[in-house]
Symmetry: C2
Subunit: 138 residues, 2 copies
């Protein structure tokens, strides 16, 4: 899985020169998401197998709206939070868009439902049941 290959251009954005007109510089920052047909079940399951990420997805589903990263009060540092959101985005579970300084996060329900009908809901349901059972949250 690992694919730390940076998003936009070829990492040469080291600012040695050309600070302004970089490829990704057009509208601002670019975030690349997998297209619908690039989403893989193994990757989705892996992304959701982390407690922190599963929790984010549960909150996102409960809110049923786009939320900024900072709305989530996770017990980890900012950089770790960024990391988890990145995994969720690269797996195709969430969609991220910049709006000002904030980054909005939304579930890709349509894509997931089209590829894997019922999967997301049954995982969310399973997670909710487990929290009810043993309340291991937060």
């Amino acid at each position: 899985m690992g694919d730390r290959t940076k998003p936009g251009s070829g990492a040469i954005v080291t600012s040695a020169s050309a600070p302004a007109t970089s490829a990704a510089a057009v509208g601002g920052r670019s975030l690349d998401h997998p297209t619908r047909d690039e989403i893989r079940i193994e990757t989705v399951l892996h992304a959701l197998s982390d407690p922190m990420r599963l929790r984010v997805v549960r909150e996102l589903a409960a809110a049923d709206a786009e939320l900024t990263c900072s709305r989530f009060d996770l017990p980890v540092s900012k950089s770790t939070t960024t990391h988890h959101f990145r995994v969720l985005r690269e797996s195709g579970i969430v969609q991220q868009v910049y709006r000002g300084t904030a980054k909005m996060n939304g579930l890709r329900r349509d894509d997931l439902e089209a590829l894997f009908p019922g999967l997301l809901d049954s995982i969310l349901d399973a997670a909710n049941r487990q929290v009810q059972r043993i309340g291991e949250d937060r």
Copy 2:
């Protein structure tokens, strides 16, 4: 892992004196499985996020019967196969029992269904759809 000693709960196989009349001693070797209420959604998802293990579970579901480890023709070594079956057992997805020199593997459908209704089926369905779509199997 660095610690092959079984994970959660411990207790049981304390073997202070390991009398012959131990529950597990009946047929010979003992394999400890998590009890139903020890099964965790994160662990289940993690176990199924590996292509090899997902494949094993798919075959097991398709066969709808107990199969020996050697029935699976995985493209990995035997010790790796043992490892994957162990992960599946410790996550609570499969149940393993010795029968002669063979080890029978069966899905714990009842337990999973009781804890997470519909989860296993929707994951299997998702996996099947993906194989149909891009045939990345074997």
